[in-house]
Subunit: 462 residues, 2 copies
């Protein structure tokens, strides 16, 4: 936890950014796994953590804009609980530890909200993503659960995004801790990777590292020799000589700040020339992104600059033909990289994605493209100092997608499908780093450099 | 997955055990962690797994008792999904793989249920433990979510318990696989345990092992130098010379069968005489349980036999005084072991606890005691061949509980509180194995023997 002043300052700023009313921030509750008392590892809501810092289930924070006060609602443990659970802090002590002067039992919350509604005051809440919180909001507001999302406060979303997206030095230090755990995970994966081992063994081992040094993985790791399948959480394959293994994994610190790296490596420890050709295009794209990212530039334009580097590389290999500018403008690179260059990163690995991607990655100036590929870009807007984003170019050969484009003649004047078909069994390459936008440009986060060049990866795997 | 015949047979038997109506078995859905698309590791409902074996989210199985048919409801992936996720089996293929001939989109389910309700047929469902399923049942039945539990089918609960609690040879083989992962975890914990290491490092490492070789831990591990705190999931302490570390952890196989072991070890690798005194009482209790457990005996009586062994040991140390039979009958051992001897184990680490403990551990013949300690026993009823239970005696010195009993003069004629106070900083010891009730008695599960004697533990830690 940060010191109380950090949370007091954050709440003060939020109360000033919202015109009027009360702001209700719901913490998370235990989530049952296979029976009521066998819960998943508790994960607090990130916005609740940002403003209240308390990593306990069943809490709600309320900020009163006009009265300029904050309070915490939650239920104390009973003496019987303490026999089984050991000493537990009272809710009032938890509140005090983060500079909140008032606390009440949870049953008081509905009275507070009801009284505000009766006086015609605005109730601000964020989009719930757990059904428990959807139901809680519906009950507090006296509305049907199906209508909860209509009542979400856009004013609150915008105010929270404006605060959370600019990371303080202390937050950056936490993200760097997460990066250092990520470094350990990725080096371990490189050292374990060999023909005959199951993907699951590597995925489990790196998740163990994330749990040893922090709060576990920041998302379900992708560890696969089928990197061309983008949303691939299957870990059942035995690694095969000649394939590439793609490892996309990150950690959370005990304060829930995240990292997110991707590396791709040859299962047998040595890249073939064909693998190097594609790999080095992606590496050049990764370097290009870090050269272009700086305050004042949109990340959409950084994505396009990266797409151009990829198009040039693919043209040299004969997979793309025609005018490069036209190819990029027509979204040809989307066939090879159907996803965006990156997303914001912080207390969530896709930071604040629960609010809706467009509130976080776009604004009145930069709107989301409708083009296949570029349209998947989560973070498109102007970069500012203090933003933390991922830079994750990739190049994949997705058989179903290639066949679809060929069949539907999409961008067929730019693509040499005959050559592309030589790569149908290639798989995919992605190289992802976490970068901080600085006054001068950007810098990669993490004390340790995760091996990335062909030589570094091969050496680590030896 | 087992072969289709296994699931067909299980469903046939269930349809025969329930008099009439339709049986609706809800699978689980993805559970969001910190935003909608960042879910927890998917865990299928155990009863759904038992009857349908399909480890996919968003499925519902329906058994029609009179028509003697089964079907699966679920939604197929779209072609766009497949571009991102790779080839996915159709619902009809999933159904066929477990011998179910009919499958429908999920939207058809409400029609099926509504039509059965209209014809006055009974709708059987189990107690939901995830809010998503509570809401789904409420909507299907047209009732308020708060009333769902009133509509639960006790007939179905009893029929499912009767089937699931007798483990087949194939199930026992799976549980033994889980035990072998548990063996690896506990030996690793013994080897890592030393002063100066954080509990979290050990907890993370053993969870990593569970993820490398199976589906992860079967419950949130307890790894603590404060074993006297029974519900202790805090892993923040640095281990201290002189303390005992208690490690209660188990694994799930990829088919979701569970193991559950506890071992207790001296942080510095050598038990003191005082630690050995208590440890050997618990070890004797563990051995006694395995001597007594056999078909026809209630597990409540095995608990009481174990309590007697503990009372004798504690009397020899001067902590308990007076007549041993009276001490046991009065629940004196509850001060030192406030929990029960064990619970059933299978597809859940507390098998079928979602139905309610009394449906699983008690019946018309054996009812739950109201006495502190014995009343916490989860499995009390007559043991039968094919039951799998944990045997987990423990001895703890819980300061808050000791002070309460002393203050309230509970069982004061049997307890030498002055001597007990010498143990206030002792911590706790628990030794837990998983046992199968056989025709002749019982046997410990797992190919490998998890070190348990003082000598074995000390040697493993060397």
């Amino acid at each position: 936890m940060f010191e109380a002043k950090t949370y007091i300052d954050r709440r003060n700023l939020l109360r000033k950014s919202v015109k009027s009313g009360i702001i209700v921030l719901l913490g998370n509750n235990e989530a049952p796994r296979n029976y009521p008392n066998n819960g998943y590892h508790f994960r607090q809501d990130s916005t609740f953590l940002y403003y209240f810092g308390l990593n306990h289930s069943g809490l709600v924070g309320v900020l009163d804009v006009e009265a300029d006060t904050d309070c915490i609602y939650g239920n104390d443990y009973t003496i019987d609980d303490i026999i089984w659970m050991g000493d537990q802090p009272a809710i009032s002590e938890l509140a005090t530890s983060v500079g909140v002067k008032k606390s009440y039992p949870l049953s008081e919350l509905s009275k507070t909200v009801l009284s505000a509604i009766r006086r015609g005051r605005k109730i601000h809440f964020l989009p719930p993503y757990r059904l428990h919180n959807t139901v809680q909001i519906a009950q507090l507001q006296g509305i049907h659960t199906a209508r909860v999302h209509d009542y979400v406060s856009k004013e609150l979303i915008k105010a929270v995004v404006a605060q959370r997206e600019i990371k303080s030095a202390a937050e950056i230090a936490e993200i760097e801790k997460a990066c250092d755990i990520g470094y350990k995970m990725h080096v371990a994966a490189m050292k374990m990777c060999r023909a005959g081992i199951y993907e699951l063994e590597i995925a489990g081992a790196i998740e163990g590292i994330a749990l040893q040094f922090g709060n576990g993985v920041s998302f379900h790791s992708i560890v696969t020799q089928n990197g061309q399948t983008l949303h691939n959480h299957y870990h059942g394959n035995k690694l095969t000589d000649g394939r590439l293994m793609l490892c996309d994994a990150g950690a959370e610190t005990l304060m829930n700040y995240c990292s997110d790296f991707t590396r791709t490596m040859p299962v047998n420890g040595k890249f073939t020339d064909k693998q190097k050709d594609i790999y080095n295009i992606v590496l050049a794209a990764n370097i290009k992104a870090q050269k272009e990212a700086k305050p004042g530039v949109t990340y959409q334009n950084v994505h396009l600059a990266v797409a151009r580097v990829m198009a040039e590389g693919l043209q040299q290999l004969g997979l793309i033909k025609g005018n490069i500018d036209d190819a990029v403008a027509n979204g040809v690179v989307g066939l090879f990289m159907p996803h965006g260059l990156g997303h914001q990163l912080g207390l969530d690995v896709h930071d604040m994605e629960d609010f809706g991607e467009n509130y976080v990655g776009y604004d009145d100036i930069t709107t989301r493209s409708a083009q296949f590929g570029l349209g998947s870009l989560r973070m498109g807007k102007v970069l500012r100092e203090g933003h933390v984003v991922t830079s994750e170019p990739g190049c994949y050969f997705v058989p179903a997608l290639i066949k679809k484009w060929e069949r539907e003649k999409i961008n067929s004047s730019f693509i040499n499908f005959q050559k592309v078909e030589n790569f149908l069994d290639f798989g995919g390459v992605r190289l992802e780093d976490d970068i901080l936008i600085t006054a001068a440009g950007c810098r990669k986060l993490g004390k340790h450099h995760v091996p990335i060049t062909v030589e570094e990866v091969e050496e680590t795997m030896m």
